[in-house]
Amino acid sequence: MPAVQETVERVKRIDVDQYRYGFETLIESDKAPKGLSEETVKFISEKKNEPAWMLQWRLEAYRRWLTMTEPTWARVDYPKIDFQDLYYYSAPKPKKTITSLDEIDPEILKTYEKLGIPLREVAMLEGVEPKPGEEDPARRKIAVDAVFDSVSVATTFKAELKKAGVIFMPISEAIREHPELVQKYLGSVVPTSDNFYATLNSAVFSDGSFVYVPPGVRCPMELSTYFRINERNTGQFERTLIIADKGSYVSYLEGCTAPQRDENQLHAAVVELVTHDDAEIKYSTVQNWYPGNSEGKGGIYNFVTKRGDCRGNNSKISWTQVETGSAITWKYPSCILRGDNSRGEFYSIAISNGYQQVDSGTKMIHLGKNTSSRIISKGIAAGRSQNTYRGLVTAHRKATGARNFTACDSLLIGDKCGAHTVPYIEAKNSSATFEHEATTSKISEDVLFYCIQRGLTQEEAVGLVVNGFVKDVLQQLPMEFAVEAQKLISISLEGSVG
């Protein structure tokens, strides 16, 4: 793993308390009036030229939301959010229909360049194709959909995907261009009434990505969305919907960053995945929202609902996440194993440092026969952070032969942080076999000294040991993401020791 070397170098170059993505892009934006009301919902729907059914759907969600209260069961603690003190929509100006990358505000393109995200597909097509016989997975083609504050600014490789029959576009476009698909699937996994944040998202979501892979198609490239919150006091509510039709396969990557700010910013996304018979979706996230400074000021509140529905037999959904950012993370990517023989996987690395609070985990709901699930969670707590794994595994009465394996390992760095494991297990039939393993350990002084005696600095040693600890999960990520994740892990642990 040469990336460890890179990690080590990068850590050396970066000062503690410096968030690499913390720059702000100065562009004019078009905002909805502050606060949340039916007017706000209508404003957003109108901005997006939405059909009437979509507005109705949103308004119903909004009315439902008014009757709901924020959940308090998670092990996170934050001042009350004033939902009237936020902007719910912000789009980069000038607002006109963008038909090619050249029409995008160069400032935005620059932003994505700084983030290392290639929006210029031209650049990707030229000179980055691996030579024959020379497999270079880090340079594989990736189609990117970039979401800036509330709107999608560019989707690359549209033509090539179209040839394969894959639909990959901003969800706002899909609502207009593929209403039958959107109407059929939107809210079918996460209903508008699901939970406080999901309901809020249903009312005000502004953009996100839509993917449909037709029967029998193996998506020819990785699909990727990068989310960036730029505007001050703006909530980002993106909505992602991915459908893998019978016998299809798609791998989807999600990355996130935000500028460094003193106040907290709200992010409440909803992701819905549907797999039909024999289909598979692999969903990978590297979440690197701004975590707040070393005193715990600022940072993103990340309240996300992610759920996959293995609707068909022999279908599979796999979530892999690397969570390093956000002041508060509230996130449980889940699988409903409805089809017989369907399989759900959850691989997670959650790192918390400073004053970060992470409450994350998964739910595996076994409904079909002979369904199986696997949960590998690696929690790393440093500084004064709190890191909780919360998991639910249930087998329905009819889910005979359901199997689950769960392994939760926590690593503590220092003695002012906490790691907690809260597993719920519920089997309503006797043929289910659930296995659960959990360990908590402290990073060993002897191991660190061994590395340091061999020439590594304290931080390099921590980076190396932690990367070893999370290796099982890193291996699940597509190569280019694994490299990025490895770097992030070390960066986010800066200043955690000594």
Partner: protein, 260 residues
Amino acid sequence: MHHLNKLDTKMALLEVKDLKVRVEEREILHGLTLTVNEGEIHAIMGPNGSGKSTLSHVIAGKPGYEVTDGQILFRGEDLLEMAPNERAAKGVFLAFQYPVEIPGVSTMNFLRTALNAQRKARGESEYSTPDFLKKVREVSKSLNIPQDMLKRGVNVGFSGGEKKRNEVLQMALFEPSLCILDEMDSGLDIDALRIAADGVNALHSPKRAMVVITHYQRLLNYIVPDIVHVMSKGRVVKSGGKELALELEASGYAQFEDAA
């Protein structure tokens, strides 16, 4: 060294002067003095708990030890002022009595990360992948270490003997100028002992010094010391030629208990 005549001035590599060390409020080393010149092989023997590992840890810079008095110079520089990783880059290597396991970090990756970290600290260029692999292959072959072992996590599931061989492998790879071997012979069978000792001997050079900590004279048949020191209760109580080791084997440490 017998082949050096008296006119040669030997360079002192390591000078430990009147070193006093405390661990958790208890003094373990009570004024220890030791000089190791370039090219020399020193053996340190002494009963359990006499402070041999403590001395090696303090030289390497392990946290948790409080030096209350004395000095350690390395090529005339104050070693105690240097961070442990700086000491490593300057050529101080400690083969641990109990090498640790590092799960998930392949031995190969570890070797490369460490070697390049040291080279970088010295302002040298990093090894390219092919050069590095070539070097590792050579060294591991001479130590009878199978390539498969290098793919496994550092020392994870290694037998006692394999762990010790892995220490010698690192020593051979990093080419340090001061090698401290803390009981490298414990847990090794006769064949493994010979291979490891051959590895150590192969590194012997006029510029490099070895400090071999051991309980058994047997090791010193393979790695022949210039000077043998007896440690007892936190001090060096006697130094002599290699025959001192034989004497100890015959009569034990009892005679030194009073001297300490």
